[in-house]
Symmetry: C2
Subunit: 299 residues, 2 copies
């Protein structure tokens, strides 16, 4: 898994499609299968999920807060999940949404991206509110290590309109964030035409995702909000670009990852599956359905 | 330490002044005193610091990233630091700058503020970029638990101008953030005239801090940037309000905390102090100097 993060994402998504499975573990919902809620249950849940994903999806996105709430043990479990997922060939996007400055930002960047990370991810989500000194340390670490950094540019939640869409003289605030990131996008270009700078662009705002391409033509996109939050495959892929012509003569959108969490982890019947094997069948079906839905979206 | 966070801050700062000691541990700089860099060294550093602060300052602010970089052990050390500081009567402001939505935000809020926190703080710093669904879970948890939430409104770093100062039709973006928080400010009012909603307002931008009082008249202020970042005591206290007349007939500003990290933790000579006792003398002098400087600022 050497080389540039963007190149790895493009290679993986050409092979397996753009689905990224968000690992948001609520062990309370899965006690029948994985035991009493706690970090051990999350570890078992994560191992079973990785088995369903390995060789079938490009990436997984663990949500750090749901591990952190179990303290040091939760942190240990997250470390193990990331190792296990990477060993299974999955790209790991750590959903941490960190945002701080200077030495503090650098501590986060090195903890997640390396060298000698305490928690080995391929890419980490970052909150840019504090300005360029908050994202530069992550961009620098990503550049040094061949990793990625996924910057919040316009998220998919209802409250996102409060600040991201605030009108400034140059357009909505999110366009200002995107413009601030243009130098980082250029610095993190790989051998593919894409950059290891990812833009987190909600699948719920397809018009904004298309407009992003005017500002950051080479950024990878990480699109949350597909599935449970109501966005369609076409919406989720709105900011993607035409990929190469495929064997079947079709051209599919490429240039990023589409995240689905709840619709994959907690589909109907999963929590009451009679066995781990039955659970894995349900999860595998949910993965297959999302992938078929995304693959049907052609340019 | 029951009751409302704002009331506890006002009681503590009337007694001890507004100084908050930011615990940004770089054990690499302190190896001669606290042993090889790692979480054990941070634990020893933290214990020695709490001894210097107990009964002398109102609050300490540990920076979570500098613990997290040592993984699960670092998390354990942070848990111990918070317990130790609270047991010594210090208010603990956890500098986490978390920002996420829904169940994720709730997981962070419960992990830090309780009930049954994994890491027991009195207040946690929060990043509001994702809008109201990102801060509501923290405000709700603070209200339930009598805790505080310190929202980034206008930080002290150079890059803060990039987004916080972006001009919108209603004024700079930071004023929009402040207005979004007005209902939370009202909900978290205590018996004092202050609210357990804290506004993080850089000591480096005193004009903005004064203007904040028109929007959030009752918010506590957490002012970073005093000392090493160059802001004076008068700048740091710009948004504070007149306190009660004191025995000496003077009126001192109140209504929040002024943070100093590097100038307290790493004053000249500290890293090469010949013994722990000599180190504690140096740190105690730095605390005394900052307190005298802040106390000299009268309304």
């Amino acid at each position: 898994m050497g080389g540039n993060f963007a190149d790895r994402v493009i290679a993986a998504t050409r092979r397996l499609g753009p689905l990224c499975v968000g690992f948001d573990p609520y062990p309370e919902q899965m006690a029948a299968l994985f035991g009493p809620p706690g970090s051990d249950a999350i570890a078992a849940f994560g191992r079973a999920l990785v088995e369903c994903c390995a060789g079938r999806v490009a990436a997984v996105k663990p949500q750090i807060s749901l591990f952190e709430r179990f303290g040091a043990q939760g942190f240990e479990t997250l470390t193990g999940f990331c190792e296990h997922a990477r060993a299974a060939g999955l790209l790991v996007i750590l959903d941490a949404k960190r945002g701080d400055i200077g030495a503090t930002a650098n501590a986060y960047a090195e903890a997640y991206l390396g060298p000698a990370p305490v928690l080995h991810a391929d890419c980490v989500t970052v909150n840019p509110l504090m300005g360029r000194d908050s994202f530069e340390p992550f961009v620098a670490a990503a550049g040094r290590m061949g990793k990625g950094v996924a910057m919040l540019i316009r998220t998919s939640n209802p409250g996102a309109a409060d600040l991201f869409d605030a009108q400034t003289a140059e357009g909505p605030l999110w366009t200002r964030i995107a413009r601030l990131l243009a130098p980082a996008e250029a610095r993190l270009r790989g051998n593919s035409e894409y950059s290891s700078l990812m833009a987190v662009m909600g699948a719920t705002v397809p018009a904004e995702a298309r407009r992003l391409r005017e500002i950051l033509p080479h950024a990878l996109i990480l699109a949350p909000g597909y599935g449970a939050q109501g966005a369609s495959a076409m919406d989720a892929l709105a900011g993607f670009l035409p990929g190469p012509k495929q064997a079947d003569g079709r051209i599919r959108p490429e240039g990023g990852l589409v995240n689905a969490s709840r619709s994959i982890l907690y589909p109907p019947g999963a929590a009451v599956a009679g066995s781990r094997a039955a659970w894995q069948d349900i999860i595998s079906s949910a993965i297959g359905a999302a992938q078929a839905d995304l693959a049907a979206a052609v340019v």
